[in-house]
Symmetry: C2
Subunit: 205 residues, 2 copies
């Protein structure tokens, strides 16, 4: 029953998940459509029933997974009021996502950058949405007086993301031998919190 009911979406879903694994493993460029097809258990041509071309398949992964990540982030932040604490939760959530969705992270870390740079008209709006959450946390923190007003939220956002992303990449590349995601999260949070907080925190409210 349930197998049949979800039949339609199943194949598309299988292709997406297979593509994530294959792209993470070999990289988008080196991955062949036939690799993805084999991993998904479908024929080469079937992929073209669901996606216009190889590139479109990649972009679909970006869009869908970034949406998914952002939603998880908002859920993780839900109920956390203090901007300082929200920064810490952000860092923890990010590294937790890397650990739990390793292949997705690998694809995003490498291919999203590449696509943004070289695909003529692709703008990673979904990534920006994700990061805008951090920017807003900083603005809130400044409005509440718990973060220094001379921090530039725009620059801080990219610095913070760069730190998260680079450590995430090292974690993934090093096959988790050298880096503990938990330690990385606390370290990045510590540095940025001390870096951005006002010396004398305003009274909590």
């Amino acid at each position: 029953m349930s197998e049949k009911a979800s039949r339609k979406g199943d194949k598309r879903e299988a292709i997406v998940e297979a593509a994530i694994e294959v792209f993470a493993q070999k990289g988008f460029h080196a991955a062949r459509i036939s690799d993805v097809a084999r991993a998904a258990g479908v024929a080469d041509g079937t992929i073209y029933l669901y996606f216009d071309n190889k590139e479109h398949l990649l972009l679909s992964i970006f869009e869908e997974k970034m949406d998914f990540l952002r939603e998880g982030l908002l859920a993780a932040l839900d109920g956390v009021d203090c901007p300082l604490e929200r920064v810490r939760v952000f860092a923890r959530y990010h590294f937790d996502s890397v650990r739990r969705h390793r292949a997705v992270s690998e694809v995003l870390q490498v291919e999203l950058r590449l696509s943004h740079k070289f695909l003529k008209d692709y703008r990673p709006e979904k990534l920006w949405d994700y990061l805008r959450v951090f920017e807003q946390i900083v603005r809130d923190g400044q409005a509440r007086g718990v973060m220094r007003p001379d921090v530039d939220p725009f620059l801080a956002k990219w610095a913070f993301f760069g730190a998260l992303d680079e450590l995430g990449q090292q974690y993934v590349l090093s096959r988790r031998e050298r880096i503990s995601p938990d330690a990385a999260a606390e370290q990045v949070a510590d540095i940025f919190l001390r870096g951005m907080a006002t010396n004398a925190p305003a009274p909590s409210r």
Copy 2:
């Protein structure tokens, strides 16, 4: 005279510089050998007199330019004693390099990551040498008591580099409209210095 004396190295050099421009512009994958050859003013086949293959050409760029960057960094740090100040100089030097060698930066930012991840046996030792300078600054700072001992120099190194690299990338991508390299350098330095410094600096010696 001098033209003849330097005749030999000239062509190789021309190819490397042309490749940097072309790779920065189109990306390694999309760049054709014939593009590089045309830009360098040589024939396609000539490139293979100096480089084993396309990939080797790319790796040569990494090796040579990272060496160059590290030497410049050491020169910039020369005579700067205080670890805190050295962090600031590092950040300034990095963004200055991005601004002054935009094409090189673009190639390193994108292709070095890719190569590290997907070329079976390429380890970007030269990048690690560059970053090890930062790690050593932190260790010195801790030994002198001006940086918190609970900062992990290894993690801090990657976080710092991630922040520099991401902002550098945004600067390059945005065609320098939104980001001032100077502001970025000060912002990253500020955050990391406040993030890593001990509250009460030890007496300077």
